[in-house]
Symmetry: C2
Subunit: 387 residues, 2 copies
């Protein structure tokens, strides 16, 4: 697997941006978000209080960076020129220098009106500093990652592969008496080591801390809280576990979650588990190209209501993902639009019983020309998930 | 060590906020940032595309959350009431429901004009939905964390202690042939295990993935890039290493960085190291209560220029920190203001020689009534840092 987006794909992204600027009668794009800059040209930088920007015009992609990013910016193959200031706060606001670079522009599209207030950054709006009209339209970029390219899908697929490995290690390690955080650390560490050994020296250039591959869990009654965070709580016999696993491949991601049970399930646990599993299977079966998002969520919701689960519902069926952990659109009864080939969704209906616990699997699926492909290859049946 | 901010401290924070609202003739505070909500009332939640808000008025602190956060919000001792909506996007924009809760308000101070565009969230501005005047003033909160309380300093001190342990493990593990990421993973894993064993079941309630204690490094010529990210590159004999270590104590943090050398240093390496060390010592010595921030940076800068290092400078001397990795103010020649007792700064002048490598230590210091205290206890001399 080639673990990077190819240069030609970045070139084609920049060309699509130029076309979109043209359609809007705009002559400059200004991006302040490090995530969007990374997506557009492959330059992964650490966003801090020091403002950065990428300017795209008809002929060039130019970076505007603090001195400490200069060499890194200059080494980017897709960036044609680099302008820099020494430091923030500096003798004058860095954005004034950025505004100088935008002289002559008539209509600017920006992802925000000035650099966001990260880590205490303060500064003027871009629209105060330039003569050009400034239109804030983050979706000029974000719309372009709503459908994934083959190059992107390859990285998401790779993420799903290592996420499944991390989950396998987690499942092997679970023992009564180990704590949630300890299990997550150990499984993530083991899986990351294996992943690094396999992927070689090219991997990881955008990482600063954290795990390349990661798996973790919450346990016991707190699984009834969909977004509970891990504690140093020790696993008990009879616990429900809800896990999560993923891997980071140059910013691309996937989502794999499983409900597991410690020891022989009770009949109540079996019943809830089977209802959840059936709901998830329904969500996967109903998905496909041209299917309205709302229809998938409604089918799952109606099934769960018919099973008497209405009071245990806490969220919709799933969300798009791939370059962020969640991306629009959402598989929600109130969403507009249809699933498209190249889109990547989580399918993760859950049921949450206060004082008892929660049940949720999440799988990452790819919408193909003629159906769906589950990217997260990991058993979903109860027998495989008793630990 | 009590590893949490005490309830009475949260109560006093909320009282200070009420006082500040009063001074501004405002009758509501609306916070959308999960970080600010956590700081104000201790409710740590996972921010997603589902909008959340904390509303503070004269009598109550009210949370506005999606259904999946309801029980977690209700269990918060500092939150008096909880309102919720089912799901985003939902049948109508969640912020319309929030606006209903703000009926009767005359003047609202908010940290942003609506929920930020996280993970693809889109929605109306708050100011479009309410009759009240909306003033955006994130600093109403952020100003309150510019000087740390004794309770906060205790957590930052605890962070520094475990950061130093993680760095010790990193230094013990470094071997020629191990990769940057591998070393970081191993050291962070070992240190986190020790930290979890010591801190017990109460630790970790705001964590989702990642390491409680963390250490990592970059190596070789890439140390000349201050914000280079770790690769799977293997350590070589003669390498310069620049490390970083910290630990997360309920959102509080510290910063410890060291320059290390693999094997016997060359005379050139010794010379650069000693200049860097002298500059850092100067930064520490010059710091103290009542000292202008600009003066500290100017002294360090002038010293480095006098040593012939001007062309190797890439950034200022340091920054405030504690509840975020960087916070204002900055130790910069262009900063206004003076250091105050209770402030916590990094002192980290660096020199960066293209094609050779970089030199930077960072320590976290506390400004006291009569001087400074270095919170990051770790050797800084060359002999201790040869590996």
């Amino acid at each position: 697997v080639k673990l990077r987006i190819a240069e030609e794909e970045y070139r084609s992204r920049i060309e699509r941006v130029r076309q979109r600027l043209d359609e809007r009668g705009a002559d400059r794009l200004v991006l302040f978000s490090a995530k969007r800059i990374a997506w557009l040209c492959g330059y992964h930088l650490l966003a801090t209080e020091r403002p950065v920007a990428l300017i795209v015009d008809k002929n060039r992609a130019s970076a505007f960076v603090p001195r400490l990013e200069l060499e890194a910016a200059q080494s980017q193959p897709l960036i044609d020129e680099v302008h820099h200031y020494f430091e923030y706060p500096g003798a004058e606001p860095p954005l004034k220098l950025l505004a100088n670079l935008l002289r002559g522009a008539k209509r600017i599209i920006a992802d925000s009106d000035g650099y966001p207030g990260l880590w205490g950054y303060e500064g003027p709006r871009l629209s105060e500093l330039v003569k050009a009209e400034v239109k804030v339209e983050p979706k000029l970029i974000d719309d372009l990652w709503l459908v994934k390219s083959p190059g992107e899908i390859a990285l998401i697929r790779e993420s799903a592969k290592w996420g499944a490995l991390a989950h396998r290690r987690l499942q092997e390690l679970v023992r009564v008496g180990m704590s949630e955080i300890e299990l997550g650390l150990r499984a993530s560490y083991e899986a990351s080591k294996e992943m690094l050994a396999a992927l070689g020296p090219e991997y990881g250039g955008h990482m600063r801390g954290g795990f390349p591959a990661e798996a973790g869990l919450i346990s016991g009654e707190r699984t009834a809280l969909p977004h509970a965070m891990s504690l140093n709580r020790k696993i008990q016999p009879g616990d429900l576990l809800i896990t999560g696993a993923s891997a980071d491949i140059w910013g691309y991601t996937s989502e794999l979650e499983r409900t597991m049970i410690v020891g022989e399930p009770t009949s109540e646990q079996r019943r809830f588990f089977e209802i959840m599993l059936e709901a998830q299977q329904l969500g996967i079966d109903r998905s496909g190209p041209g299917v309205p998002l709302a229809e998938v969520d409604r089918a799952v919701h109606d099934f769960l209501v018919a099973q008497g689960m209405e009071k245990f519902l806490r969220h919709h069926t799933g969300h798009h993902l791939g370059f962020a952990p969640h991306e629009p659109p959402f598989i929600d009864q109130n969403s507009q639009g249809e699933m498209q080939p190249g889109q990547v969704f989580s399918i993760e209906p859950g049921i949450y019983i206060p004082g008892h616990g929660g049940y949720r699997h999440s799988d990452t699926i790819l919408i193909t020309e003629d159906g769906v492909e589950v990217l997260t290859a990991y058993p979903r049946d109860l027998a495989s998930l008793i630990v």
